[in-house]
């Protein structure tokens, strides 16, 4: 029963939320979609900040809402990070962190030192919120949400209100959170970058409905419902840095069944890193030739689908355990005699390291 089952129906003037969703209670689940798609409303319904009249919500088998039950927000064991830090301006950073701690049972209390260290806010404890930068405030807000030792962490676009520099400042903390804490996270975002970097599970929403949901890698590799995460369709590969070539300023990232070369970004050997490969950067060939393209992998065609333009096709290729999607003209697909199960050479023009 380690999952969330959410079934909500909510009608407001000009907006309707209607979904029935089962989400895993592990890792980071991204709720992705354009603004107005209902992702924040869904998160607020799960937190109990919004009450869908016909709703049902169970978390790890516990009923939080159905026709007869309603657990108010303050009795739900969750943490919530809002888009704006929303720190209590009358309290110091320390006071903000302790606000929730004092309200949970002593047995449930966890040491804050780790969270404070994780988010790098130990120098700020005595300050009032108006003396903090935007990035610092948001880090404190995240630590404050963690302080109540939540069974589920809800984050509503925690980076959206920050400029690019501040985003870059916080993202590493979120990644550490992901890697080091075992708290399941529901993460609302409309930023492809954040989703690609942080999510394990993806829920794509549009106008109050769920378009697709499933594990991130598989969902992004779907051909029946191509998901534009950003400017193009693309897949994600979980890799480990395997080697660094100082002479050519390159690094090799390994994944089960293959490896790719990318520009050296300074990530040390042995570190895990996600890479994204866009469909337009992948081409297919039936024999090896000499080319400027360094990354050539051997794979098996896993699926063929239509792209938006009638002359284009999307071809999914399995390389070891990784999935890649290539975009090519239907004529090219025909001349290569592509079909599911056929062995092909995959040429990858560009690899984006997500960090």
């Amino acid at each position: 029963m380690e999952n969330i089952h959410a079934c909500f129906r909510l009608e407001w003037p000009g907006f309707c939320l209607d979904l029935d969703l089962t989400l895993p209670l592990t890792g980071v689940t991204a709720l992705f979609g354009p603004s107005g798609s209902g992702k924040t409303t869904l998160l607020r319904c799960i937190a109990g900040l919004e009450r869908a009249p016909h709703g049902r919500l169970t978390v790890a088998g516990e009923i939080w809402q159905d026709t007869r039950h309603w657990v108010p927000t303050y009795q739900r064991p969750l943490g919530y990070v809002f888009q704006e830090a929303s720190l209590f301006s009358h309290l110091t950073v320390d006071g903000n962190l302790n606000y929730g701690i004092r309200r949970i049972s002593t047995t449930a209390r966890v040491s804050m030192e780790h969270a404070i260290e994780l988010l790098g806010i130990s120098q700020l404890l005595d300050r009032k919120p108006d003396r903090l930068s935007g990035g610092e405030r948001q880090r404190v807000a995240i630590a404050r949400a963690l302080a109540v030792n939540p069974r589920l962490l809800l984050m509503d676009e925690p980076l959206a209100a920050l400029d690019l520099k501040r985003k870059q400042e916080i993202l590493p903390y979120l990644e550490r959170l992901h890697d080091e804490l075992k708290i399941p996270v529901l993460y609302v975002s409309h930023s492809p970058d954040e989703v690609a970097r942080l999510a394990d599970h993806l829920v794509v929403m549009e106008t109050g409905r769920v378009l697709a949901d499933g594990p991130l890698v598989q969902t992004l590799a779907r051909l029946d419902l191509p998901i534009h995460l950003g400017e193009d369709i693309g897949t994600i590969i979980e890799t480990t840095v395997g080697a660094v070539d100082d002479e050519w300023h390159l690094m090799r990232v390994d994944f089960p069944g293959g490896n790719l070369w990318a520009r050296d970004s300074g990530v040390p050997v042995g570190h895990r890193v996600r890479v994204r490969v866009l469909a337009r950067d992948v081409s297919l060939a039936d024999r090896l030739g000499h080319s400027s393209i360094q990354n050539v992998l051997n794979g098996i065609v896993d699926g063929i689908g239509d792209d938006q333009h009638p002359g284009l096709a999307l071809v999914r290729v399995k390389v070891g355990e990784a999935m890649l999607v290539a975009r090519l003209t239907k004529r090219a697909a025909a001349s290569l005699e592509l079909q599911v199960g056929k062995q092909v050479w995959v040429q990858v023009k560009s690899v984006a390291l997500l960090e």
């Binding site: 937190a47 303050y74 704006e84």
Partner: protein, 226 residues
Amino acid sequence: MPLSDSDLLAIWLSLRLAGTVTLVLLLVGTPIAWWLARTRGWWKGPIGAVVALPLVLPPSVLGFYLLVAMGPSGPIGRLTQSLGLGLLPFTFWGLVVASVIYSLPFMVQPLQTAFEAIGDRPLEVAATLRASPLDAFFTVAVPLALPGFLTASILTFTHTVGEFGVVLMIGGNLAGITRVASVLIYDHVEALEYTEAHRLAALMLIFSFLVLLAVYAWRPNPKKGS
């Protein structure tokens, strides 16, 4: 210019009345202001209008109705008699009740504005940090609305000190009980004791000015805070 004993008694009574009314209104006005700031129901309009009525009603209207209502056959009068409290006109507590009604908007409106300025967000945050609504009210809403509480209390206090018409109509002019400073000034004028009237009136003027000066000078910077 020394003040006479009766002047001092009246000033002390004014301050005691204003202090009592401020305390009572903090207790009575806060929930009303909170409700008005938070509710979206259609009752908000009518209740808000009733609360604001004393702002526009002449004190004579209030005084007249209060005297009738508190009298032996009025609803308040019957209630207080059945509770064994006797009748309220010509008593200190009668003035308190009248002043609470008369000064109600001066407490409720600044508080309502302060509560509305807080918005929903801090209370939602408090709820996600395990604070029950009542808990969140005392630990988040009240501290954040503290400047509003201060302004409301000062305005209520000053307005009660400056009250005249209602007190005149239901007070009965009893020294130490209902003869407050503003009424005593009137008595001095009526008795052609202009020197005494001047003394007390000037004191009231300076007092009111200083209090308002404090309120305006202490305005917190609205740009601050997150």
